[in-house]
């Protein structure tokens, strides 16, 4: 009787030990796995580079007179053909000039992509936008405007 009780006690103690060992191993595995397979989310960097390129580069919309004037938009360049060529990206991009009420995009499906992005998991941010105060130059005449840029990275 005493021997039986001793045996049961030992079995229980071993079961607990095995359970704890498995738990500890699982935790160590999770920690190591998490640190090794950590992904860096560079979506915001990609979006930021694209956004800045639109008003910094003369290949996009920045005015080029004698030198390039970042932040000054050449209105003659502000069209969809140029947007597609200068960014050369599959990510949907939309630009609009608030005061002039002119909007261009590199895809016809920007709004659909935007709606899809809005219902996506909030932790996986996919919509990036920026508002930049710019000057507009058209045929020697200069005015100010607000350039809204939206980029969807999915």
């Amino acid at each position: 009787m005493k021997k039986n009780a001793q045996l049961t006690g030992e079995i229980v103690s071993w079961l607990v030990k095995i359970l704890l060992t498995v738990l500890i191993l699982a935790a160590i595995y999770a920690v190591v796995n998490f640190s090794i397979t950590e992904d860096f989310n560079v979506s915001s960097t990609i979006a930021d580079l694209m956004i800045r390129r639109t008003y910094y580069s003369s290949s996009c919309f920045a005015l080029k007179d004698i030198s390039v004037e970042p932040g000054v938009i050449d209105l003659n360049k502000f069209n969809e053909f140029r947007l597609k060529n200068c960014l050369n990206t599959e990510y949907p991009v939309k630009l609009s000039l608030e005061k002039l009420n002119r909007t261009i995009s590199n895809t016809k499906f920007y709004d659909e992509e935007y709606n899809l992005c809005q219902i996506q998991n909030k932790k996986k941010r996919c919509f990036f936008n920026n508002k930049q105060y710019v000057l507009i130059e058209s045929n020697g005449f200069r005015d100010f405007d607000m350039l809204n840029i939206g980029v969807i990275i999915r």
């Binding site: 001793q6 006690g9 103690s13 607990v16 030990k17 704890l20 738990l23 500890i24 935790a27 160590i28 920690v31 998490f34 640190s35 950590e38 860096f40 989310n41 560079v42 915001s44 960097t45 979006a47 930021d48 956004i51 800045r52 008003y55 970042p70 932040g71 000054v72 990036f128 936008n129 920026n130 508002k131 930049q132 105060y133 710019v134 000057l135 200069r142 005015d143 100010f144 607000m146």
Partner: protein
């Protein structure tokens, strides 16, 4: 004897679990989380930080080059240096287009909340211009707001007294530019922009 051994083993296992928890916490602290642009201090933050922000350098340059009464704003400031209200009015007019704030924005679109202040420092005097909202602003939680309170100091620098502690703006920029006036005296223009909560 047997009992004490079991108790000992349990204690050891308990401490093993504690060690694992400690390791987890340390790893969690070491792995950089997403940080606001303004808080970037180390290279590891650069990889994961939120980068899409307004370019205040371009904003200041464009602001000073904006056409005002057939002049650019900087020339307008120089020519009207003795008429402070006129300068303030014109800058406020332009800045209200660039940087907007109202209570509805605080509730519906807190990312685009914006405050600013601008200082023109010359040899003779300083001129300080700031966002028009110079009172304490409260975002009521019942309206779906965050419960944040934004307070502006005398200089026009805003501070967020958050519902769960003080917070910083997502974007906080400080730019200054030194330019000569018509008599070759130095004029410093300081521009601060605070955006998004």
């Amino acid at each position: 004897m047997k009992k004490s051994m079991i108790v000992g083993t349990f204690i050891m296992d308990f401490f093993s679990i504690l060690t694992v928890i400690a390791i987890l916490i340390i790893f969690n602290l070491l792995i950089p989380k997403e940080v606001a642009y303004v808080n970037i201090k180390e290279i590891k933050h650069v990889i994961t930080s939120e980068k899409v922000v307004s370019d205040s350098g371009i904003t200041l340059k464009n602001l000073l080059n904006t056409r005002v009464d057939n002049l650019n704003l900087y020339e307008f400031i120089l020519l009207n240096k003795n008429d402070e209200p006129k300068i303030k009015l014109k800058i406020n007019e332009l800045m209200s287009f660039i940087c907007k704030f109202d209570k509805q924005l605080l509730i519906k679109d807190p990312d685009n909340i914006c405050f600013w202040n601008l200082k023109i420092i010359s040899k003779d005097k300083d001129l300080s211009i700031k966002s028009k909202s110079d009172q304490v602003i409260v975002s009521p939680i019942i309206d779906g707001g965050t419960g944040d309170i934004i307070v502006l100091d005398k200089e026009g620098n805003p501070e967020i007294l958050g519902f769960t502690g003080n917070r910083d703006f997502k974007t906080r920029f400080s730019n200054s530019i030194i330019l000569p006036d018509y008599e070759n005296n130095i004029i410093t223009i300081e521009f601060n922009l605070y955006k998004g909560i």
